[in-house]
Amino acid sequence: MSSRDRILAQIRQNKPEAVPLPAVTTFKSDFADTEEKFRETLAAIYTEVIAVKNLEELTQKAEELYKGVVNRATTIPALSAWADFSLNVSDPHELETVEIAIVQAEFGVAENGAVWISDRYLPHRVLPFITQNLAIVIPRNALVDNMHEAYARLQDTLGWGCFIAGPSKTADIEQSLVIGAHGARSMVIFLLEDD
């Protein structure tokens, strides 16, 4: 018998009597102001939230914020004049030199400050991790209160997706918080008003 069948047989023999799933597994969070809560949560995890009216203002803010930074990458067509780094690489290792990546994501979660980013907008999964600094753009009206609402939106997760909440961090050395472990050293979220 294969290990698979042996394991399954032993599970069948040893598992407890069937019980149903709990009736309630989702909960509501009623924040007075979802966007305010989102900002607050992200401020606590070292991430600035900047509202921009349109793509023009986004470009302007990006230029201000990352003045002098070379090796810029983006997945947003409107920024293609500013971000001169080509994402048209066949090997993700070539992204190693990216200093700032501005990428589009789908939505954010107010309760924990996480932003959902996935294959839908990313030509290379490693981009948000390998870049030294990360900026994420989400529509201003795409905020949900908590993770239950988030999963209600995520009917299809495609091939890969990730909730990202702030810059990479570690506290493995005497519990001292250090920002910038392996992934991005800084994170900014742009809330884009226009569709």
């Binding site: 599970i11 019980v19 989702t26 091939g159 493995d172 005497e174 001292s176």
Partner: protein, 458 residues
């Protein structure tokens, strides 16, 4: 099986030699426990979430076979290759086989307690494979040739100076440097080079979803993603109890996990892997290694609900004052002490006794495992099966003889009080294990019973 390691009590005695260090260890973990409290209290539905999580996991235990089959089928449809391993040896062989097939002799690994449980690094090393742990804490203990001392905070037992010295020796940092920012930067550069040059990456699995065939890996550092997205082959290893029915249930578990572990609202990265990226191979190894046996132990099966947050360790007064290594098991602390005897009763018979049974572990457990009850039950099983130390057994027998006879109990109490008052050196000496790290109390003049009888007469 012969004893090769120190028992918990002996090992913690060594740990306790440096009192300021033990106090620091205790306070550091308590600080994490307090962050958990603060964070959990921000959710009014916290208790309902725990209830839901426990209920979902109970459903999982009672439908494990069906859920695993569904997961396997979906994963295969997604283009992921699924392997099954009955035990640690088989798991290690599968990993080695995959690496050999691709002629890879260097691999990066993100945190996986399962591979620690299987002693995979050691096995691969013997077979000529270099494994680099990429979680900073794990890299630190790996450079020290130590196992992790905590499932979430692997290097929690070390001081800045220890790490500074270690990095000076291995990574060429300045001698005497202890700044965490500086040391982390050195590790970042050192590990970035590994990420960029390794063709294989291994990760653990926090949750596997039966409905989608996908799995979630949570890290704060981003090391799992750095490894997996750059490597040609991604191997994910999971104990079979990591399965949950539906993707929507992740809402419950992700809200509980990081809050219970470190007090964060969510880990920085919660990566959902479903399909390999183009040109990449993705493998999942589903591991039993004693879990199906534990499933059959009615009193202990709830331990399989564990989501590895480490909350029970941070709160445990024994763990905080004895350190993770005293438990001689990949998973230390209260939950580890329930899981370990299932793997080997002889080798781990001491662990269920490394507890005050105060119940704090059960109170903080996000999936409501009855940890302290199970520790108490293991003691009985182990005693019955003859795995308990002779000295402990004699003590227990003597105690039960005393407690079974009220008159004898009263007489021995009186005798004890008299002796302790007249000749305190009889109990205040190194031969008495109760005298370790504490002073014996001043014996009262009369027992509560005497006082009660006297006062009731009026």
């Amino acid at each position: 099986m012969s004893k090769t390691v120190m028992e918990h009590a002996e090992a913690s005695e060594v740990f306790n030699r440096d009192e300021p260090y033990v106090n620091w260890h205790d306070e550091t973990l308590w600080f994490v426990r307090q962050k958990r409290d603060k964070s959990s209290r921000q959710l009014p539905e916290w208790e309902q979430l725990r209830e839901a999580a426990s209920g979902i996991k109970h459903y999982v235990l009672s439908h494990l076979d069906e859920l695993l089959i569904s997961f396997e089928q979906k994963a295969k449809e997604n283009g992921v290759q699924v392997h099954w391993a009955a035990n640690a040896a088989e798991h290690n062989e599968i990993v080695l086989g995959l690496l050999k097939k691709h002629r890879i002799d260097k691999m990066v690994k993100s945190k996986s307690m399962l591979t620690e449980e299987c002693h995979m690094n050691e096995f691969l090393h013997k077979n000529g494979i270099e494994v680099i742990d990429t979680d900073l804490g794990e890299r630190i203990v790996q450079l020290r040739n130590e196992p992790p001392s905590h499932i979430v905070l692997p290097a929690i037992h070390l001081k800045k100076k220890d790490i500074g010295d270690l990095f000076h020796e291995h990574l060429g940092t300045e001698a005497g440097a202890t700044d965490p920012q500086y040391l982390t930067e050195a590790a970042r550069q050192h590990l970035r080079d590994k990420f960029l040059t390794r063709r294989a990456a291994l990760t653990g699995v926090n949750f596997a979803v039966a409905e989608t065939g996908g799995f979630v890996v949570s890290t704060n550092e981003g090391n799992a993603d750095m490894g997996a997205h750059l490597a040609d082959i991604h191997i994910a290893c999971m104990g079979f109890e990591k399965i949950i029915p539906k993707q929507e249930h992740l809402g419950v578990f992700l809200r509980l996990l990081a809050r219970s572990a470190t007090g964060q609202p969510i880990t920085t990265y919660s990566s959902h892997f479903k399909k390999p990226r183009e040109g990449q191979e993705m493998h999942i190894i589903i591991v039993d290694n004693g879990r199906s046996t534990q499933l059959g132990r009615k009193d202990f099966r709830n331990s399989l609900k564990c989501i590895r947050c480490g909350a029970c360790m941070n709160t445990c007064p024994v763990y905080r004052r004895s350190g993770g290594h005293s438990y001689h098991n990949a998973v230390a602390g209260p939950i580890g002490s329930i899981l370990a005897p299932n793997l080997d009763m002889t080798k781990n018979a001491d662990l269920p006794f490394a507890s005050t049974l105060c119940g704090s572990c059960s109170n903080v457990c996000p999936v409501k495992i009855d940890i302290h009850d199970q520790l108490y039950k293991w003691r009985q099983v182990l005693a019955k099966e003859g795995h308990v130390h002779k000295s402990k057994e004699i003590g227990i027998r003597a105690m039960s003889a005393v407690l079974a006879q009220p008159r004898f109990y009263q007489w021995s109490g009186r005798l004890g009080r008299t002796v302790m008052r007249a000749m305190p050196f009889v109990v205040n000496n190194a031969l008495n294990p109760w005298y370790k790290q504490r002073d014996m109390p001043e014996p009262p003049k009369e027992s509560f019973r005497d006082w009660y009888v006297r006062n009731r007469k009026n």
